[in-house]
Amino acid sequence: MSDIDAKIRRMMADMPAAFNPEKAEGVNAVIQYNLTGEGGSQWQSRIAGGVCTVEEGVAENPTLTITMDANDYVEMMAGRLDGMQAFMTGKIKVSGDIMLASRLMTFFN
């Protein structure tokens, strides 16, 4: 298992606890993460009723799909890659509810 893969698994596992339901009031969404390249994997996260759950795999009708390089994702979550910059330089590709994408980071502590 590569280093990146292990980090991503840990980050995904930590996601529900870091979720702040107050910041995401009324949000009902399925978010698909496609993390590509070395150490990449696919995850689906559900936000509904003030709870966030995460599991590995591909969701059927995601509200939002985020596609990015696995290493970039790790760097972004670690605060070493600016999310905005990543957006502007095409490192993050999203489809679906792009407005949700811009708010997503604020949902987590």
């Binding site: 905005m84 502007m88 330089t89 095409g90 590709k93 999203v94 489809s95 509810d97 792009i98 407005m99």
Partner: protein, 425 residues
């Protein structure tokens, strides 16, 4: 040297963002804001503003560095670093206008005011007026040249700027009409306006200068919001200046005047450089609308079985197929001229001729393509259920502002034939 048609990777990547925004944020509210002319597309504005702040900050920083280190030179090693700013801008604008040209015009940014300040402002003026676009709430910049008696004939501008020696302030009096983002810049945000006024009417163009007026300055009043044919989401205002006082340092360029007949004052000429960037921007917006209409029409016809066999001989094609081919050719021609005018500017080379060429061509192309699309799609094209009729209405403005098609054709002719403004008008 081979002709390079490749768009740099960094530019392509950045235009992914505006592609997504156009598709997923702008398009879906396109009709709504066409029907609610004076409402603002806040969802788009708030979404795009953080990105614009970053671009404004980078642009301001670079222009202040260029001033220190000499044009286009990267600090330190003295090697020339080619800018891609204008090429990135036209890609952004083309994408956003594909989404909706009126909503694109609502983008919070220093816009034409920024271009004027970048063209002739001192480093101090750039800091004072452009820093606000790098933080805080969304803000707009606007440029006001046109008056009831002065549209194409800018030498007829009647708005006056008089120096009050006692307070060391300029006093502006006059009326500006059809100011894009005029209300947003002057009273709905802490924006700025660049106002063209004359210091001495008898000197014609040589007496004219641009002045920066900050939002909320007493004596500046929005008197009317236009109701328009197209780009209805865009804010278009009339503004009256009545003893509107601004600091002495808000003049762009030198306040010194030359006698008529003498070489045109540098301040005025410098400020006209704004058009070297704004015309490619308008051309890019036109091309975005044209592409939207063309793609929609091509795909709709394809779904009905009408495709273009590109290898077929001309006489084997139906009239509709010929029309589609012609439209695609025109689209490419307009876009290539636009890219060229922007790339020249990035390379620090003169581009006034090319900017006018791109503007003329794309204004014609977008008008023709959108009308043709309405025609080819029949009832679908004319119905308000689809956006095709709207694109036709949105198209025409590109043939009007920043110099009409006729005026830009005159500029091209003068430049190619070597005539002066007096000799060919």
């Amino acid at each position: 040297m081979p002709i390079e048609f490749e768009i740099p990777e960094s530019v392509k990547n950045q235009s992914n963002l505006t592609e997504m925004v156009a598709e997923q944020v702008i398009r879906k509210v396109s009709r709504y804001f066409d029907e609610h002319e004076h409402e603002r597309p806040w969802e788009y504005i708030n979404f795009i503003w953080p990105f614009i702040q970053q671009m404004e900050a980078a642009n301001l920083k670079r222009s202040l560095e260029v001033k220190k280190n000499g044009h286009g030179k990267a600090s330190g090693n003295g090697q020339k670093k080619q800018s891609t700013f204008q090429v990135r801008m036209i890609h952004m604008i083309e994408n956003l206008s594909w989404g909706d040209a009126g909503i694109y015009l609502c983008t919070p940014s220093s816009a034409l005011a920024g271009a004027a300040i970048q063209a002739v402002g001192t480093p101090d003026q750039k800091e004072r007026f452009l820093d606000r676009f790098t933080h805080g709430k969304p803000k707009w910049g606007a440029m006001a040249m046109t008056e009831p008696q002065a549209g194409s004939d800018t030498s007829n501008i009647q708005t006056t700027a008089r120096l009050d020696p006692e307070t060391n302030e300029w006093v502006l009096n006059g009326e500006k009409i059809f100011v894009t983002n005029g209300s947003l810049a002057s009273r709905e945000s802490e924006g700025i306006l660049v106002i063209w006024a004359t210091l001495d009417r008898s000197l014609g163009r040589a007496g004219m200068r641009p002045f920066v007026v900050e939002a909320g300055t007493p004596g500046m009043t929005v008197t009317k919001l236009e109701e328009k044919l197209g780009i209805r989401a865009s804010d278009t205002a009339a503004i009256v200046f009545q003893d509107c006082r601004i600091p002495y340092d808000n003049i762009l360029g030198s306040p010194e005047l030359k006698k008529p007949g003498a070489r045109t004052e540098k301040g005025f000429k410098g400020a006209m450089k704004t058009f070297d960037s704004s015309r490619p921007w308008v051309a890019a917006s036109a091309m975005g609308i044209a592409r939207a209409a063309f793609e929609f029409t091509r795909d709709t016809l394809a779904a009905q079985g009408i495709t273009i066999p590109v290898d077929a001989a001309y006489h084997e094609l139906s009239a509709i197929q010929r029309d589609l081919l012609d439209m695609e050719t025109q689209l490419k021609a307009g876009w290539l001229l636009t890219v060229r005018s922007a790339a020249l500017m990035d390379a620090g080379q003169p581009n006034s001729l090319e900017a006018s060429m791109a503007k003329v061509k794309s204004g014609q192309v977008v008008t023709r393509i959108t009308q043709k699309c309405v025609e080819l799609l029949g009832p679908l094209g004319y119905s308000r259920e689809l956006l095709v009729e709207k694109w036709m209405r949105d198209a025409k403005i590109n043939d009007i502002y920043e110099g009409t098609g006729q005026i830009n054709t005159l500029i091209v002719a003068r430049r190619i034939l070597g005539y002066t403004r007096k000799e060919l008008k």
